[in-house]
């Protein structure tokens, strides 16, 4: 059988780490044993009027504790339901899903940007833990910070805020320019405008750039073809220009996708 599976996860902790931002550790022996940075899990609602699973990126993996940390923003009724759940309660989880970040692209002596924007920051935490080489964490927030302490453990953190309340006023590219930073490889997750700007930046600078994408999903395993993105090359599944974010991604080489 495959490494993917569906299991009942017990909530080990749940805390608020920002406005509408929650951090939850869930005991998931099967999924945590196979999970990689940049992969995601599908969380199912207990209220069955909400059918579809919510895809949430993996923030941290603790194999010894058989647990995953998920950091998510409450954006609708489904995530609201998760945020109301208490320690000891269980929920259905499917995963690990997707491909994850290619950590083998980095090695000692090379420099990486780990770029997260808003709720795209969480997957950077596990990536930072596992990645080799020099790691420069570039994180963009609206105003309020979260997960910066975790990221500081793995390397230098550069912050941008939209209102300038912390770090550089502006976006992640403004931080890079302000500190005159450079890198051999970029790993990024965040809103589409950020990814679009990074794709352009990386192409101009000729830097290898891996981006994690997001789209409304149904099955989460590549069958329903809901969450496609436009790909430069003919895709392997439908032989058109549509890669499946849930299965072929969510991480793509920026040059592979049209944004």
């Amino acid at each position: 059988m495959s490494e993917k599976g569906k299991e009942l996860g017990k909530i080990l902790s749940q805390e608020v780490i920002g406005t509408e931002i929650y951090s939850m550790w869930i005991e998931l022996p099967q999924i945590s044993a196979h999970a990689k940075p940049g992969q995601f899990v599908s969380l199912f609602c207990t209220d069955k009027s909400r059918l579809l699973p919510r895809p949430i990126s993996i923030c941290e993996i603790e194999r010894e504790k058989h647990a995953l940390r998920l950091v998510y923003r409450v954006v609708g009724k489904g995530t609201k339901e998760f945020s109301k759940m208490n320690v000891g309660e269980t929920l259905e989880v499917m995963g690990p899903l997707g491909n994850g970040f290619p950590i083998e692209r980095m090695e000692e002596g090379k420099k990486a940007f780990l770029i997260g924007g808003g709720i795209g920051i969480p997957p950077m935490v596990e990536l930072a833990k596992q990645l080799k080489g020099e790691k420069q964490m570039i994180v963009g927030y609206r105003d309020e910070l979260f997960l910066t302490e975790e990221l500081k453990k793995a390397g230098k953190v550069f912050i941008a805020t939209e209102d300038g309340s912390t770090g550089v006023k502006g976006n992640v590219l403004d931080v890079i320019a302000h500190h005159q930073l450079d890198a051999d490889v970029i790993y990024a997750c965040g809103p589409t405008p950020m990814l679009r700007a990074l794709k352009k930046y990386a192409e101009e600078k000729n830097i290898e750039c891996w981006i994690s994408m997001e789209e409304k999903m149904a099955c989460g395993i590549g069958a329903c073809l809901a969450c496609v993105c436009q790909s430069k090359e003919i895709d392997g599944h439908s032989h058109v220009h549509n890669k499946r974010i849930c299965k072929d991604g969510p991480v793509f080489l920026a040059t592979e996708v049209e944004l």
């Binding site: 569906k6 009027s49 059918l51 579809l52 789209e215 409304k216 999903m217 439908s238 032989h239």
Partner: protein
């Protein structure tokens, strides 16, 4: 020993549970969760003569107890399908039902002719997809068009033909009778109901296509009613679907007159639904002292 097998147009299925087209790909992805050998049949996602790109995203939106989709029949076309997906499915002891889509009668006929050389058990003709402008639904909402396309397909098809009907009509029995008159060997229903969702925060349509097909538990009572009406209006077998999530749902369709049932949207949130429903039906028959599934088909009083 309870008989769970059913026969549709001369093809015997080990049990009456199959997948609904478009929710299960060609089985590869779900084979990691489900033993395909335990399914009566796998109904593939729609296949056209050439690759189709489908609609822009977002392609899906959740609604209360259901979901809207407007995938737009993205598919790799018949050549890749025949070379990759049919050999994959042939590894399993289950029947293969290929869903066929097209924009013109010629498109459908081209696929049907291509499939005639392949080890496919049944053809399901999708004349009811609400998400493609030309073709699809255009054939499924006019009895004359239903009869005409059924006739054209029957002239060329080597395998028995199931016509998949749309619920987006005034009288579904008129479409069912037209398909039967055109020579259809069986019918499947319902395809999705055309719906719409609006994002009030962004004041825009939730789907890029504006409209989409509603599926899931929310549509089940409509589907059961339509299956009952159609089963009583035609003499060919009916395959029932629309919101089936558990054994009880499937039993409703069988009692309403469906010879077999398809599980669709439930695969997304309950990947093992198909096999558990097959087991559940058998258990129901045992507990109610039936020896043969055929005893409950259309047995509603």
């Amino acid at each position: 020993m309870i008989n769970m097998s059913v026969t549709i147009a001369g093809v015997t299925l080990k049990n009456p549970v199959m997948t609904a087209s478009g929710t299960f790909g060609s089985g590869q992805e779900y084979s990691e969760f489900v033993d395909l050998n335990r399914l009566g049949a796998v109904v593939t996602k729609g296949v056209a003569n050439v690759p189709w790109s489908g609609n822009p995203t977002p392609r899906i939106a959740e609604t209360y107890g259901g979901m809207l989709n407007a995938i737009g029949l993205q598919n790799p076309g018949m050549e890749v399908f025949c070379q990759r997906d049919i050999p994959f499915l042939k590894q399993y002891d289950t029947k293969i039902i290929v869903n066929v889509c097209g924009k013109t009668t010629e498109d459908y006929c081209e696929v049907v002719e291509r499939l005639s050389e392949e080890p496919v058990d049944l053809l399901e003709i999708n004349i009811s997809c609400p998400n493609v402008k030309e073709g699809g639904i255009a054939f499924g909402q006019d009895p004359k068009a239903v009869e005409a396309i059924t006739k054209e397909i029957k002239k060329r098809a080597k395998q028995p033909v199931i016509m998949k009907l749309s619920p987006n009509v005034t009288d579904i029995t008129a479409m069912a009778k037209a398909a039967q008159a055109g020579g259809a060997d069986a019918l499947s229903l319902i395809n999705t109901l055309t719906g719409m969702k609006i994002d009030v925060n962004r004041r825009c349509f939730s789907l890029a296509n504006k409209t989409g097909g509603l599926s899931g538990p929310a549509v089940k009572p409509i589907a059961v009613r339509m299956v009952y009406q159609v089963a009583n209006a035609v003499s060919i077998p009916v395959i029932g679907m629309g919101g089936i999530t558990n054994t009880e749902d499937a039993l409703e369709f069988l009692l309403a007159g469906a010879t077999a049932v398809s599980v669709g949207t439930a695969n997304f949130f309950y990947p093992t639904a198909t096999v558990e429903i097959a087991e559940g039906i058998e258990q129901y028959l045992r507990e109610n002292h039936f020896e043969d599934i055929r005893q409950i088909i259309g047995a509603v009083q």
